[in-house]
Symmetry: C2
Subunit: 108 residues, 2 copies
Amino acid sequence: MDDLTEMLKGTLEGCVLHIIGNEETYGYAITRQLNELGFTDVVEGTIYTILVRLERNGLVQVTKRPSGQGPPRKFFALNDAGRERLATFWTKWEYLSSRIDNLKEGGR
Amino acid sequence: MDDLTEMLKGTLEGCVLHIIGNEETYGYAITRQLNELGFTDVVEGTIYTILVRLERNGLVQVTKRPSGQGPPRKFFALNDAGRERLATFWTKWEYLSSRIDNLKEGGR
DNA sequence: CCCTGGTACTACGTAGTGCCGAGTACCACT
DNA sequence: AGTGGTACTCGGCACTACGTAGTACCAGGG
């Protein structure tokens, strides 16, 4: 799939929140998971910037743990604010995608 | 619906292309139409910048016509490049939205 | 007769987000 | 010693949507 960059804006962060919400995990693994889920072109750098932002905005709880196969990992888990943000993300997504599908089908 | 700004990035342009594809129309009317379609917070300024971009990128054909109730209108119609861009927009949208819905349902 | 309000477009700057590249660091295997 | 996979950081870039101000035309009310 060619360049989805612009379309991912605003949604990629939500996807990351969702993944973190499923289980405590870390940046590198999130990237691999997204790649497998069809977000093939998403790279580490992008995910790390999102994670830094999430932390800065107080949406996640961070725990550093040794890895055994590389540098220590930073594990992320959602806190209450994060869960709330995730919920509003899905609300927005439902709203937006229904409007757009509607636009496409309805023709006008 | 609260702030959809970030989520609209990359998709709003496609919506505008779609509307123009339905019938030759102009900026102000496009804005009103989007507002009625649920994109309530989209304002003129945003649409005009998109239209300028479409023109600059050679995706539309522009015709100026007097209005009768205000300044002259700039009517926009899709050319071949525009129709092609619209088609790839829908392809991308289908792809992305299916991945995201998949992510939401599948959990992982 | 001005003034408000609706129609219609232009121009400039801002902020947010994803991407890119370079760099650091640890470990396993050859 | 060198390569390759794991794992994170940092700085800058590009693109997009938004906000605000300004211009301009017309109709109707005070």
